[in-house]
């Protein structure tokens, strides 16, 4: 069951999040961050700024050293093992390099998103409830891969794999998407298609999302809000339009940013000109996705 953010407060509230790795490196220096319900937020910053650590501390794939993470009314940081597993079901994660189980089929990869809901033997013998299988087919159709269900994951192209990764995250029926560099190994066109897909799906399902992304232009094109991270501290938090050369310098360091900023404006205009995205997509939308392969 999806619980909608209560009392109008943020659906995700991070307070004083700190992570010190065993090597002694202080990756996060007390981050405060609120994500309202339904917001798609991009987290940008140079390599090593702590972007991955932030989202991994939210679902505790990495244990935070200090601070709290509140998912709606649930404090994730103090949960025991069983409760943590139940909490993870509410947070879908999409990975850099897809992180699909390469030797399993597309369908098995998508259904693995339901592992938190079924028992061990049920999942071992692949006896998932029919409702899960229906949902898997629905999601695969939504991303244009319903004809690929029985293919092995390692037979797919990069863009296709990432769309399977998206289905795996969505079949959890999450409230929040944690997205770690979704386009890092994709070509520019596929990157945009993947980002657009994530944005559309978040809108359709009223999901919040935190998207770690290297590509400033993509972040500006697809996110409502940008948070800039530098050596474990938030140095920018605001709308994409306010991402000026000064701000980029503050996040990444000294560099000539004029080309980056100008290009974004051009591309945004170009996108609006030649692409009309229907707000509610008819299913299946395979034809639309056919060009992605």
């Amino acid at each position: 069951m999806r619980s909608i953010g209560y009392g109008g407060g943020p659906m995700l509230r991070i307070k004083g999040l700190t992570k010190r790795y065993r090597t002694g490196d202080l990756a996060l220096k007390g981050i405060d961050l609120d994500v309202p319900d339904g917001q798609v937020m991009a987290l940008i910053g140079p390599s090593g700024a702590g972007k991955s650590t932030v989202i991994r501390c939210i679902n505790r794939l990495v244990e935070p050293t200090a601070g709290t993470v509140m998912l709606n009314d649930l404090e994730v940081t103090t949960l025991g093992r069983g409760e943590l597993r139940r909490a993870r079901r509410r947070m879908g994660m999409i990975f850099q390099e897809y992180a699909l189980v390469e030797r399993l089929s597309v369908m098995e990869n998508v259904l693995s998103g339901r592992l938190g809901y079924v028992g061990f033997w049920q999942s071992y013998f692949r006896k998932f409830p029919q409702s899960d299988i229906d949902e898997a087919f629905r999601l695969l159709a939504r991303v244009g891969l319903d004809h690929m269900a029985d293919k092995r994951a390692d037979e797919l192209s990069g863009g296709q794999r990432q769309r399977v990764g998206i289905c795996r995250a969505l079949i959890q029926n999450p409230e929040l998407l944690l997205v770690d560099e979704p386009t890092a190994s994709l070509d520019p066109k596929t990157s945009r298609q993947i980002m657009r897909l994530i944005k559309e799906l978040c809108a359709e399902r009223k999901l919040s999302a935190i998207i770690n992304i290297h590509d400033v232009m993509l972040a500006q094109m697809f996110a409502e809000r940008i948070v800039g991270l530098r050596v474990g501290e938030i140095v920018y938090d605001g709308p994409p339009e306010n991402l000026t050369a000064d701000v980029l310098t503050k996040i990444y360091g000294e560099e000539d940013w004029s080309a980056t900023i100008r290009k974004v404006d051009d591309e945004a205009a170009e996108m609006e000109a030649d692409e009309v995205i229907p707000p509610e997509l008819p299913l299946p939308s395979r034809d639309r996705m056919a060009g992605l392969t």
């Binding site: 679902n59 794939l61 597993r85 139940r86 909490a87 993870r88 079901r89 947070m91 994660m93 990975f95 850099q96 390099e97 992180a99 699909l100 189980v101 390469e102 030797r103 399993l104 098995e108 693995s112 998103g113 339901r114 592992l115 938190g116 809901y117 061990f120 999942s123 071992y124 990764g165 795996r168 959890q172 944690l178």
Partner: protein, 271 residues
């Protein structure tokens, strides 16, 4: 350093003077030791026997041909035993090796401080004792026969299979495991979905490879009474029935070739 400045230009050589001298020193010492050892071995060798060897070998070979094909009927059963020793021994080894490997792999072991050393000890002790020695001991403990052979092959193979398997487990792509864990999967589910599919090809390859080795190893176990084709071989050698010996050797070669063919096919099918 290999980079130096000579007459104003930067020159580069593979080694500097000191490293070059050291390299020559190592080669010189190596050659000296080789010559000295050659001298030592030569002194202790009765060369008359060595010069005589080709004649002896020829003589033995002449006594071995033609192979005594009539005795083949008595060999089907022992060779069948040999195959069973290899197969059942491998099976036993795999069943025990899987949990041992799981406990030995750094990324899956329940405890690096306590469980892992125990698993590693099992692996080392199993690997360091040859199956012939296992057989020798087991024959005195449980008496001669096929069962002793199966156990000795099994005990010898646990370490081999577990070592290769735990190395395969340590080499898996952790991001796939992490992705499964992020869905809220339980520990067992993370293993079944994140780890097992990744190590399955290695597991199958290791098993078939060990089975292939075990066919060869089980042919000698009969020499110490642990059943199989080694029993008639031993009997033939002690009775100087060289034509039977040659037949048994041919049969062993045929079996090993067949085993290698099967394992190559299976491995090809998996990978």
């Amino acid at each position: 350093m290999a980079t130096a400045i000579k007459d104003g230009t930067k020159v580069w050589q593979r080694r500097d003077r000191k490293a070059q001298f050291a390299t020559w020193g190592v080669y010189l010492t190596g050659t000296a030791i080789f010559v000295y050892c050659w001298e030592l071995i030569s002194e202790k060798t009765t060369w008359a026997f060595v010069w005589d060897a080709p004649a002896q070998a020829g003589d033995l070979f002449a006594r071995m041909v033609p192979p005594d094909w009539n005795s083949i009927h008595g060999l089907w059963w022992p060779i069948w035993d040999t195959l069973n020793i290899a197969t059942l021994g491998t099976l036993m080894a795999i069943i025990i090796a899987v949990p041992v490997a799981y406990c030995a792999a750094r990324n899956t072991t329940p405890s690096v401080a306590f469980v892992r050393p125990v698993a590693l000890f099992i692996i080392v002790s199993s690997r360091s004792i040859n199956s012939l020695i296992w057989a020798l001991m087991l024959v005195t403990i449980i008496g001669p026969g096929v069962f002793a052979g199966i156990l000795s092959i099994g005990l010898r193979s646990i370490g081999f299979c577990a070592k290769l398997l735990y190395e395969a487990i340590e080499e898996i792509d952790e991001s796939q495991v992490e992705a499964v864990r992020a869905t809220g999967a339980s520990g067992g589910q993370v293993t079944a979905y994140g780890i097992v599919p990744q190590v399955l090809p290695a597991f199958a390859g290791i098993s078939v490879f060990r089975w292939d080795i075990n066919i060869r190893e089980s042919t000698v176990l009969g020499l110490v009474g642990a059943g199989g084709i080694g029993l008639p071989l031993n009997a033939a050698i002690t009775t100087l029935a060289w034509t039977q010996v040659s037949l048994i050797l041919l049969l062993i070669i045929a079996t090993v070739v067949a085993g290698e063919w099967v394992s190559a096919k299976v491995r090809h099918a998996i990978i």
